[in-house]
Amino acid sequence: MSRDEDLMARLLSPTGDPATAHEPVATGALLRELGVPGVPAVPGVPTDRDASAPLQPGRLELRGIRRSFDAGHGQRLVALDGLDLAVDGGEIVSIIGPNGSGKSTLLRVAAGLLRPEAGEVRLDGHPVTGPERGIGLVFQEPRLLPWRTVADNVGYPLELVGASNTERRERVAELVELVGLEAAADVVPSRLSGGMRQRAALARGLALSPEVLLLDEPFSALDALTRERFNAELLRLWARMRTTILFVTHSIHEAIFVGDRVVVLSQRPGHVIGDLAVPFGRPRRPEVMDEPAAGALAGRIRGLLEGGGA
């Protein structure tokens, strides 16, 4: 029996080898390397979609999510209720919804920053119970540390996980180049334009090579032209990283251009009221938005937003 066959046999056996069974993450990674279809990503954790389990890591699942907030005067505001969403590894899903549909709450739950009151979040089969390295989050505002240079901001996540100085320097150089900020690496954020700051934030979000990148209206503070260019750049970045992307936006145009699918949320309490495939392949040029299919899709999304909204 070869090493691989031996490993597979052990994993597939219902009793399993205790030594392997107690290392779910390492095993999951091995399984993906082996490309075993139809095997749960983590042994011992039941999944309902084993047969179609993707080979690429970064599958994010949200099931039956409910989350509410204290609205004062003893009232609870239910932001999300009964929200189901599954995003395949390497897929880009746009989330769109009216104001107050809980889009930001959804991202925070997915990032492990907020605990859902009901339901669960799974990343490649394992439950997400708090922030983790495999999930990167880019906020609506850049949130750079004002006393640090761009390079030190980009390297901040690496510093927190205790990466060595050389490791950090190399990775930062790579990331800064990736987002085109080489010239501004040693500058503090206050001297940068809004667009450059958001680039730095994006680079920081990618620093730990997350399998899933959560983007909370990341370009909404930029002007329309810059925004269009950033969306195209985001897709160019994705083509190199192939990370799973959850892209929250309130622009129908942006949602279609960026996503493989557009998921429409209802008015509060938010849940999924539409899940529409975008009929364009990749790489995608901005001109696809002029095609009739784009207009038709935008019309359907608008209809859902208006029907589902108040």
Binding site: L113, G130, P131, L145, P146, W147, V188, S190
Partner: protein
């Protein structure tokens, strides 16, 4: 003016400062001459400066200055470090704030002049009491500044740190301290000048050395009014020098943002 010194702008910035200094002495001289005041009320500046020089060369000012500086250094170090710790605690713990703040405010509201004799009674007439008095007067502004600075740390940055799984210690060292540093230094600037006040007050309440003692001696048994003014000048210079020192450290640590 101190900001200009800290930034090291050269003569363009130092020139006006020197001019103002000369102006100050000129007005002083003018008041003495026009008012016709005797030396024991207001000695002319040249007399005071001459006494200042002899005071330093014969060692009397040096000896008392060293005593006062020791009290200031110890009192400020102890007061400032406890103030920063307590300020952080007040900012991050509602319970600590509720329980501690009444006492802190009450201690601050009680004049240090009234408190000093009690502290000398408790800690004896030695260095201990003077350091405690100095630490006490320094404590309040620094504790409040730290509390305000830590409370003002952007929640969104704290959320960012949380999303990156920063430990409590990492949040403190990489986020809270750097973010609160300008505010803490605001407190340290006020504190360091109060440290001088604290040391002098403490010396009045009981000491055999120090500039506060020398003020009393010069006015009382020595009846050397130029020495009294030379001592006041020394105290003022210590205050300015310490303030500038804090400012220089601040510029070094906080830098440009």
């Amino acid at each position: 003016m101190t900001a200009a010194i800290a930034r090291g702008r050269g003569w363009g910035a130092i020139g006006p400062i020197l001019l103002a200094l000369v102006g100050f002495f000129a007005v002083w001289k003018l008041v003495v001459v026009l008012g016709g005041y005797p030396v024991f009320i207001l000695p002319p500046p040249e007399t005071v400066l001459a006494r200042f020089v002899t005071g330093w060369t014969n060692g009397i000012l040096l000896r008392h200055t060293v005593a006062t500086l020791v009290e200031i250094a110890l009192g400020f170090a102890i007061g400032a470090s406890t103030a920063i710790l307590v300020g952080y605690l007040l900012a991050r713990s509602r319970l600590a704030e509720r329980v501690l703040s009444p006492y802190i405010v009450a201690a601050q509201a009680t004049p240090i002049l009234a408190l000093a004799p009690v502290l000398v009674l408790w800690f004896g007439p030695g260095l201990g009491a003077r350091v405690v008095i100095c630490a006490l007067i320094v404590f309040f502004p620094i504790a409040v500044a730290t509390m305000v600075g830590i409370r003002a740390v952007d929640d969104r940055l704290l959320e960012l740190a949380r999303s990156l799984r920063a430990t409590r210690r990492q949040v403190l060292t990489t986020l809270e301290i750097p973010a609160a540093l300008p505010s803490i230094f605001g407190g340290l600037r006020v504190g360091v000048t109060l440290a001088v006040v604290g040391a002098i007050v403490a010396e009045w309440a009981g000491a055999d050395q120090g500039l506060g003692v020398l003020v009393n001696l010069a006015r009382g048994s020595l009846f050397d009014i130029p020495l009294l003014f030379a001592t006041l000048l020394t105290i003022a210079l210590i205050g300015v020098a310490l303030y500038v020192a804090v400012l220089l450290v601040e510029h070094r640590l906080v830098g440009i943002r």
